[in-house]
Amino acid sequence: MTTALRIVVGDDQPLTLEGVAHVLREAGFDVVATARDAVDLVRKARAHKPDVVVTDIQMPPDNTDDGLRAAQTIRHELPDIGVLVLSQYLEARYALDLVGDRAGGVGYLLKHRVGDLAILTDAVRRVAHGGSALDPDVVQQMVGRRRRDDPIDQLTPKEREVLGLMAEGRSNQGIADHLVVTVAAVERHITAIFNKLDLRRTAEDQRRVLAVLQYLRR
């Protein structure tokens, strides 16, 4: 391991804040600062220029979605910093608001994922390296949204699964690993999905995530 990823953590609850920081340290990350409110979080992100900011949504000063807005500010102002939001809300709207029109360096996980070290560390790394990591449950909600005359209904169960994994922000390799199939098989599925959904192919992961998310939110 070369240099550990540098992280700033934001959460207004001291117990959770300490817990999350602890888990991240245990996972080998370098927690350089913590913040108890959204204003402080932005300030510390500017000061420390960490690799990733991990933050809660509901925080002071307004105690509404201040953490989410702080995350958006940081993404806009400091695009090199990855942002991972730990949310208690299973709402596609928040995740999509966070992603906006750039699917790189961004993640949205439900808060209890801090209990699953593998998912958490994987998400932090992907976000740090310009990838994206959306919570499987949130993605499932988007893919599962029922629509009339929905082309998604034409997908096979496997293809639906691949579509969800693409939305989560996984690479072809990542999808292949997850499904325990070959990358070539994954690519075949993807071709089929893009044809059925009439989506334009794009080689680049981030653009693909954005295209898929936009399709799901149409």
Binding site: Q13, L15, T16, G19, V20, H22, V23, E26, Q58, N63, T64, D65, Q88, Y89, L90, E91, A92, R93, Y94, K111, H112, V114, G115, D116, L117, Q141, M142, G144, R145, R146, R147, R148, D150
Partner: protein
């Protein structure tokens, strides 16, 4: 000449003696013409009437050349054409009703004559008897003139009566009367005025070359003819130029009026008004004109009385009916706006106003137009907010807290007066709307006619002002009730949000912390397999508890509703729904109580759709509709749904009712279900 005798009742008298005596004494002028046409005899009456001193001046002169030589138009009158001399040749008697003779001094006079043939020694002569008919002709001429005047008067009266019978506008009738009177009296100035209770008079009809026109109000001070008529109750006449101050006197002086007659218009025993006539020449207003004007005003008064009595009755009935209708509306607790509009329209029609407005006097000194009606869409628009300053009836009413009037906005100050002028409103009456002892506003009726609304209209308007006050105070207490119920709903919402916040800050955080602790424990190398299994189980339960708690919090009050509003929250519901749900809601934010009510209605409705409707799709819409939020949830399912007491939707109906809204359900069997909620949005004014 044979000696004849005549018997005078037994007395034998010489006939010639009798004849001579009769001719000498009779007042009838008589003369005798011989066959040559020369005068042979003339009695004293004839000599005198023809202007001669003695008979000698006439005897032997040619009759025609002496008294009959010209025609009345001055042309020559040859003797050969004279019928008076005809009996000499024809032997027939000739009679003329009208002819002209000349006196000695050459003057001409009218006569009536008879010419009778008489046998004379040299042939036939004629005896002419005539009478002076000058006086008779003069009398006839006078009579003829009088007939002409009477005919003229009757025609004028008939014209006016016809107008009245045709139901012409009073203003039209009055101006016609003024014109007729002006012509009849050959006057320079006619003013018909109505006496007002406040010591003024209003011109209701005018005629002549002067600036006073119907609608002008003037004060009855000074020795004017109209003031005199009012004081005495009788016809008055002044044969001089008016003296003293006053607009009327100035106008009369300008016209050079030297003779004035005023005749009262008495309606139902009361001095209602006056017809004043002025002329520059007193011969224009001859003695007797008063009688003619009185006859005239008598008819005018009758017409006014008839129309007024009829009008009064009709108006009273209409007024009572309108009051009853509006009172019913108020009692039904109809929306104040409805009541306001109805009152404006009813009073407008009732009082024949051009426009009626309801103004509210705001606590910060503004005049806010709340409702309005107008005959020709010319009222001050609803929502107009102007400072309460300047000359308006609104201000008069506010100051006095009593009905009032403003008879001319000509030259009145302030923006409201200027607007009224631009709209053509000339005068207004107003009545206060008093709510809980304070002048809340005014009900104001205006007209674009030159004649202001009749005296007393403001008092009658006051009854409607009271109805408005009742409606306002009903609405206020109702609004208080609604707002207190809304406060309860709001408090309940707030409580739900607090519960959710507490869950998030407390239980959820602790569970997350527990998960983290278990996670850290799981990372340890020194756990026995049994303990590791227990930690795994603990992690699983804690994770499930977090999920369940999240769903619970979402059900109590979803954060997304608070954070992002109705559209986002309903989209979130659609994300979870087991059937396609189309959502048409704008991102607009509404008051939280409204958003919550709308959200929970949609949530409950969608739950029901999923459970019972056997629908393939549902559609949710929300949009603003006349100050309310209209929410609909429709599906294409089996229908037959109803609001069951105690059911989830019925509970939401109560919640909507607390916000003064309504919830309805339409669900014909086999044709889907539509749930519709109307939730009032708080008034932005």
């Amino acid at each position: 000449v044979p000696h004849a005798v005549t018997d005078l009742d037994g007395w034998t008298v010489g006939a010639e003696d009798v004849l001579a005596a009769v001719l000498q004494s009779v007042a009838q002028p008589i003369w005798v013409v011989d066959p040559e046409g020369l005068i042979r005899f003339a009695n004293p009456a004839a000599v005198d009437t023809l202007g001669y001193a003695e008979v000698g001046e006439l005897l032997g002169r040619h009759s025609h050349e002496t008294i009959h030589y010209r025609r009345p138009d001055g042309s020559a009158y040859p003797a050969s054409e004279c019928p008076m001399l005809l009996p000499r040749t024809t032997g027939e008697t000739v009679a003329r009703d009208v002819d002209w003779f000349f006196r000695r001094d050459g003057t001409m006079f009218a006569v009536s004559y008879v010419s009778v043939p008489i046998a004379m020694p040299g042939g036939r002569g004629a005896v002419v008897a005539f009478i002076d008919i000058e006086d008779r002709l003069r009398a006839e001429a006078v009579l003829h003139d009088r007939d002409a005047v009477l005919t003229q008067d009757q025609a004028a009266l008939r014209r006016v009566a016809t107008l009245v019978a045709q139901g012409a506008e009073p203003a039209h009738v009055f101006s016609a009367v003024a014109r007729e009177v002006g012509r009849l009296a050959n006057a320079q100035m006619v003013l018909m005025s109505r006496y007002e209770p406040d010591g003024t008079a209003i011109v209701i009809g005018a005629w002549g070359d002067h600036p006073l026109r119907a609608g002008a109000r003037w004060t009855l001070d000074g020795p004017s003819i109209s003031a005199t008529v009012l004081q005495t109750g009788r016809t008055a006449r002044f044969d001089d130029a008016p003296e003293g101050p006053g607009a009327i006197a100035d106008v009369a002086r300008d016209l050079g009026v030297h003779s004035r007659v005023g005749v009262p218009i008495v309606v139902d025993g009361r001095i209602w008004g006056v017809v004043a006539v002025g002329a520059t020449d007193r011969r224009s207003l001859p003695a007797g004109i008063e009688t003619r004007l009185e006859e005239f005003t008598e008819l005018v008064a009758t017409a006014i009385s008839n129309s007024q009595a009829h009008e009064d009755l009709r108006r009273l009935a209409e007024e009572q009916a309108a009051l009853r209708r509006l009172a019913t509306l108020v009692a039904q607790c109809a929306e104040p706006r409805l009541v306001f509009d109805a009152v404006c329209e009813e009073t407008g029609r009732l009082f024949a106003a051009t426009t009626v407005n309801l103004a509210h006097f705001t606590p910060d000194g503004f005049n806010l137009t709340i409702a309005g009606w107008s005959l020709r869409k010319v009222h001050v628009p609803t929502g107009t907010r102007l400072p309460l300053e300047g000359d308006t009836v609104n201000n008069v009413v506010r100051r006095t807290a009593a009905p009032g009037r403003f008879d001319s906005y000509e030259g009145a100050s302030g923006e409201l007066a200027a607007r009224l002028r631009r709209l053509g409103i000339r005068s207004e009456v107003g009545a206060p709307v008093v709510v809980e002892g304070r002048v809340w506003g005014a009900l104001v009726a205006g007209t674009d006619e030159p004649v202001p609304l009749p005296a007393g209209t403001e008092l009658r308007l006051a009854e409607f002002g009271e109805l408005i006050a009742t409606a306002v105070s009903n609405a206020t207490s109702r609004a208080e009730l609604v707002s207190s119920r809304a406060r309860i709903v709001q408090a309940a919402d707030e409580q739900r949000r607090r519960v959710v916040r507490d869950l998030h800050d407390g239980a959820q955080q602790r569970l997350v912390t527990a998960v983290i602790a278990l996670q850290l424990a799981q990372g340890r190398d020194d756990l026995s397999p049994e303990v590791r299994a227990l930690v795994d189980t603990g992690l699983g339960h804690a994770g499930a508890a977090i999920d369940e708690l999240r769903d619970l919090a979402q059900g109590i009050h979803p954060a997304i509703l608070t954070h992002h509003g109705l559209a986002a929250a309903v989209e979130a519901l659609a994300d979870r729904a087991p059937l396609p749900v189309e959502v048409e809601i704008s991102d607009e934010r509404y008051p939280s109580t409204v958003e919550s009510a709308a959200y929970f209605i949609v949530a409950e409705a969608l739950t029901n759709v999923a459970k019972y409707a056997r629908a393939s799709t549902a559609r949710v819409t929300a949009r603003q509709d006349e100050g309310r939020l209209l929410v609909t949830v429709e599906d294409d399912g089996a229908g037959g749904a109803a609001l069951r007491p105690g059911g989830g939707l019925a509970g939401l109906g109560d919640r909507v009712a607390a916000l003064d809204g309504t919830l309805s359900i339409e669900s014909p069997v086999g044709a889907g279900t539509t749930i519709r909620a109307l939730i009032p949005l708080p008034d932005l004014t």
